[in-house]
C-alpha cells in the first residue's frame, strides 16, 4: 500500500515544526518587545500607557547609553580578535603534534563545557584583588590589580573570562579547517623553499578564510549577546559603567530596574543593530572570502 501526499503541501508540512519553533521562540517575543517599547508600564502589568517614541527619545538622550555602545564595541572586538588569534595559534600548534595528539586536542576543547557563569566565577576568584592568586602574583610583579576601581582592568577581566571559553570552540573549527588544507600544496611550497611562516600566511591562512569568516560572525554574535553571564558573575557592569555592555544594560534596566518599556526599546535597537551587522558581514566581508 502506498501513501500519497500531494506535493504542494508536503514541503510546508515538513517545514512546519521549524516554523512553529521560529514563531514561538523568535518572532512572537520580538513582536512583544517591539510593542512594549512604545508603552510605559508598571512592573505588575496593572496599568499601561502608550507613550509613542518617549522610550527611544530618553534612551538616545542618555549619554550613558552611548557609553554602553562604546563598551560593547571594545568588548566584542577584543573578544573576537583574541579568541580567534589564540585559537588559530593553538590549532596550528596542535595540528603539528604527532604524539598524544588526541590528548592535547581533548584538553583544549574541555573549557567549552564550562557554563559562562561558572567561567566568570572562576576568573573572578583568580583575580580577586585581595585573595586571588593571579592578582597577588601581579602585585608581586608591581601591577596594582584592582578591578573594583580600575575600569580598564575590569574590562580586561571580562574580556579574558569571555574569551577563554570561546577559544575551545574556535579551536575545534580551526583544527578541522587545517586538516582540510591539501598536504600537496604545502609540500609543493616547501620544495620551492617557502619557510613555515611564509607557507602559513600565503597558503594555509587564505584557505582557512571560510572558517575564519564563519568564526568571526559567531564570535561577534557571542560577544554581543551571550556574555551576559560572564559580566554578571564578575563585575556586574562596574566599576562605574565601564563593563556594562548593551545586553547587560537591557538586563539591568529590565530585570533589576523593572523598567520594561525602556528595556524593550533597547532590545529593539539591538535587533536593528544585529540586522545591520549581518548585512555588512555577508555583503562586504564575505565577498573577499574564497570558498
Amino acid at each position: 500500500m502506498s501513501v500519497y501526499f500531494p506535493h504542494k503541501k508536503l514541503p510546508y508540512l515538513l517545514l512546519l515544526p521549524q516554523l512553529v519553533i521560529t514563531f514561538i521562540f523568535f518572532l512572537w517575543p520580538a513582536e512583544q518587545a517591539f510593542e512594549q517599547a512604545f508603552y510605559q508600564e508598571d512592573p505588575f502589568g496593572l496599568s499601561r500607557t502608550f507613550i509613542g517614541l518617549d522610550n527611544f527619545i530618553s534612551l538616545f538622550s542618555d549619554p550613558i547609553y552611548y557609553e554602553s555602545m562604546l563598551v560593547t564595541l571594545v568588548f566584542s572586538f577584543s573578544v573576537a580578535f583574541l579568541g580567534l588569534s589564540i585559537a588559530l595559534w593553538l590549532a596550528v600548534m596542535a595540528d603539528r603534534v604527532i604524539h598524544g595528539k588526541l590528548a592535547y586536542q581533548t584538553m583544549l576543547i574541555w573549557p567549552y563545557a564550562v557554563a559562562p557563569v561558572l567561567a566568570g566565577v572562576l576568573w573572578w576568584i583568580l583575580f580577586d584583588p585581595s585573595m586571588g592568586p593571579v592578582a597577588l602574583w601581579l602585585k608581586y610583579l608591581g601591577v596594582n590589580w584592582d578591578h573594583y576601581l580600575n575600569g580598564d582592568q575590569a574590562m580586561i577581566l571580562v574580556v579574558i573570562s569571555a574569551t577563554w571559553k570561546q577559544i575551545s570552540y574556535n579551536f575545534l573549527f580551526f583544527l578541522a579547517g587545517l586538516q582540510a588544507v591539501p598536504r600537496s600544496l604545502i609540500e609543493a611550497a616547501s620544495i620551492d623553499g617557502a619557510t613555515p611562516f611564509k607557507r602559513f600566511w600565503t597558503i594555509v591562512f587564505p584557505l582557512l578564510s571560510p572558517t575564519t569568516f564563519f568564526l568571526l560572525v559567531v564570535n561577534l554574535v557571542y560577544a554581543f549577546f551571550d556574555t551576559f553571564g560572564v559580566i554578571d558573575a564578575t563585575t556586574q557592569g562596574g566599576p562605574g559603567v565601564s563593563t556594562a555592555t548593551m545586553v547587560y544594560k537591557v538586563f539591568s534596566d529590565g530585570f533589576i530596574g523593572l523598567d520594561l518599556g525602556g528595556s524593550a526599546a533597547q532590545s529593539v535597537v539591538l535587533m536593528f543593530l544585529v540586522g545591520i551587522m549581518t548585512v555588512i558581514q555577508f555583503r562586504y566581508i564575505e565577498r573577499k572570502v574564497e570558498y
Binding site: 512592573p43 496599568s47 550613558i64 585581595s130 573594583y148 556586574q236 530585570f255
Partner: protein, 432 residues
C-alpha cells in the same frame, strides 16, 4: 484507549486528593544556605502545629531574582501567596495596589491579632503607609554596624572602637603606622555611607520625608553633610585609611585576611564573620561626625519583608494569616533572630532573647538592636520609600566608584547621581 482510561483515573485521583489535602500556601523566598534551611524548618514547624494548611517555601535565588520572578508570575497569574521582597523593593510593591493584599487588612479580615505597637517601630516604620498601617510583614531586618579586629587594635595600642568619624581617622592612622595596610572598608556603600549616613546625621536623603510623603520626592543626598563625608572618604582612599573593595559584600575578605582592620557591614553578617575570621573581633555602632551632630539618630534597616499577593482563594488567605501570626510569635522570632543574626522584630522576641542571656554569651549581637532602637525615628531616619531604587543604587555605586578612583569630585559625583536618580523617580511616578 487504555492510556486514556489510565489518564482519566490519574486525573480523577488528583482532583480527589486536592479536596482532602490541607490547603497549600506557597512562600517564595531569597534565603540561601543556612538561613534557607532555617526557613524550611520554620515552615515545617508551622505545618506540624496544625492540619489545615501547608506552607511550602520555595527558594527563588537572590533578592532581585525573587522579586522579578514573583512579578513575572503575577503577570502570568501564577503568583505565590507570600513573597519575600527586600527593603528597596518596598516602594514598587506599595505602588502596586492592585497586586498586593496589605497585611493589616488580611489580619483583620481573618481575625488574627495584629498590633503595630508589638513591633519595633524602626522596623515597621519602613513597611507602613502614611496612616501607620503595616502593609507587609517584617521578617528579616538588619542594620549596618562596625566590625573591628581586636587583635590589630591591641597591637597598635588602641583600647576601644572608634565611635565618631573623627576617631575613625586617628585610629586608622595609628593602625597604618603599626603596619596595617588599610584602616577600614565598607560593604553596600549606598546603604551604609549615604542612606544610613543621612539618617544618622538627621539630614534628608530625599525630599518629602525620604519619599514617605509622596511620589513627587526628589533626591537630596548631594547636601553639604554627605558631600563632605564622601570627599573625606576619597581622601582616605588615597591615604589608605579607607579601601574600596566592591559593591555588595565583596569587601569582607579584606577584613577576614586582616588587610583592613575595620569593616562596615550588615549586623546579620555576624554568623559569617564568626566562621571566616581566625581572630577576635568586636562589634560597635556606626560612627558619626561629632562636628555635624551631637547625638546621632538611629540607623535604618535593610533586609526584607513578606508581601501577600492578590489572586488566591479565601481559604488560602486564612492560612496565610495564621502563618504570619505564627511567624511573629516571640519564640519563633527569637529563635530566628539568634540563629540568623537578623534583628528581633517584636519587643517580646527582644525581651525573650535578653532573658535567655543570649547577648551576654554572644557579645556584639545586641549592638545592632541598640543602635536601631536608641532614639525615636525622625523624618530623616524612618527609612526610604523610593521607586526604582534598586537601579538607583547602581547609579550611586557607579558615581561613588568614580570618586574612589579619583576621576570625579564628591560634589560632581553626587550631583550627577541625584540628577540621574531623579529621572528614574519621575519615570516611576509616571508609571504608577
Amino acid at each position: 484507549m487504555q492510556s486514556f482510561k489510565l489518564a482519566s483515573v490519574v486525573i480523577g485521583m488528583s482532583i480527589a486528593s486536592v479536596s482532602f489535602a490541607a490547603t497549600e500556601v506557597e512562600w517564595w523566598h531569597a534565603m540561601g544556605g543556612a538561613n534557607g534551611e532555617k526557613v524550611n524548618e520554620i515552615a515545617q514547624a508551622f505545618n506540624e502545629s496544625q492540619g489545615a494548611y501547608t506552607v511550602k517555601p520555595v527558594y527563588k535565588g537572590n533578592y532581585t531574582e525573587t522579586m522579578t520572578s514573583a512579578i513575572a508570575a503575577f503577570r502570568a497569574k501564577k503568583q505565590p501567596a507570600i513573597v519575600q521582597v527586600f527593603e528597596v523593593g518596598t516602594a514598587s510593591m506599595m505602588a502596586a495596589k492592585g497586586a498586593i493584599y496589605p497585611v493589616y487588612e488580611l489580619m483583620s479580615d481573618f481575625g488574627q491579632p495584629f498590633k503595630a505597637s508589638d513591633y519595633l517601630s524602626s522596623v515597621t516604620g519602613y513597611y507602613s503607609d502614611v496612616d501607620g498601617n503595616i502593609l507587609s510583614m517584617p521578617f528579616n531586618s538588619s542594620t549596618p554596624v562596625l566590625f573591628y579586629n581586636k587583635e590589630l587594635f591591641a597591637k597598635a595600642g588602641i583600647s576601644s572602637a572608634p565611635t565618631t568619624w573623627e576617631q575613625m581617622e586617628t585610629v586608622s592612622e595609628k593602625l597604618l603606622k603599626n603596619g596595617v595596610s588599610c584602616g577600614f572598608t565598607t560593604s553596600w556603600q549606598s546603604w551604609i555611607q549615604l542612606e544610613n549616613f543621612s539618617a544618622r546625621h538627621d539630614v534628608p536623603f530625599a525630599t518629602e520625608e525620604n519619599g514617605f510623603g509622596g511620589m513627587n520626592t526628589e533626591f537630596a543626598f548631594n547636601g553639604p553633610t554627605q558631600v563632605a563625608h564622601i570627599q573625606k572618604m576619597s581622601e582616605w582612599q588615597k591615604s589608605g585609611v579607607f579601601s574600596y573593595a566592591g559593591r555588595r559584600s565583596d569587601s569582607a575578605p579584606k577584613f577576614y585576611s586582616q588587610e583592613c582592620a575595620m569593616y562596615m557591614g550588615s549586623s546579620a553578617g555576624y554568623a559569617g564573620m564568626k566562621r571566616n575570621t581566625s581572630f577576635d573581633f568586636g562589634v560597635s555602632q556606626l560612627p558619626y561626625w561629632e562636628s555635624k551632630i551631637e547625638k546621632p539618630n538611629n540607623t535604618i534597616i535593610g533586609g526584607a519583608s513578606l508581601w501577600v499577593l492578590k489572586g488566591h482563594s479565601e481559604e488560602e488567605y486564612r492560612g496565610v494569616a495564621s502563618f504570619l501570626s505564627f511567624l511573629s510569635r516571640a519564640d519563633v522570632q527569637a529563635d530566628w533572630h539568634q540563629f540568623s543574626g537578623y534583628l528581633p522584630i517584636t519587643h517580646a522576641a527582644y525581651g525573650l532573647t535578653k532573658g535567655q542571656g543570649y547577648y551576654e554569651k554572644n557579645l556584639g549581637t545586641e549592638t545592632g538592636v541598640i543602635q536601631m532602637t536608641s532614639t525615636t525615628p525622625t523624618a530623616n531616619s524612618k527609612g526610604l520609600r523610593l521607586g526604582n531604587f534598586v537601579q538607583i543604587r547602581d547609579i550611586i555605586n557607579e558615581s561613588l566608584e568614580g570618586v574612589w578612583s579619583g576621576q570625579t569630585t564628591a560634589q560632581e559625583a553626587l550631583d550627577s547621581a541625584v540628577k540621574r536618580g531623579n529621572a528614574l523617580l519621575r519615570k516611576f511616578e509616571k508609571a504608577n
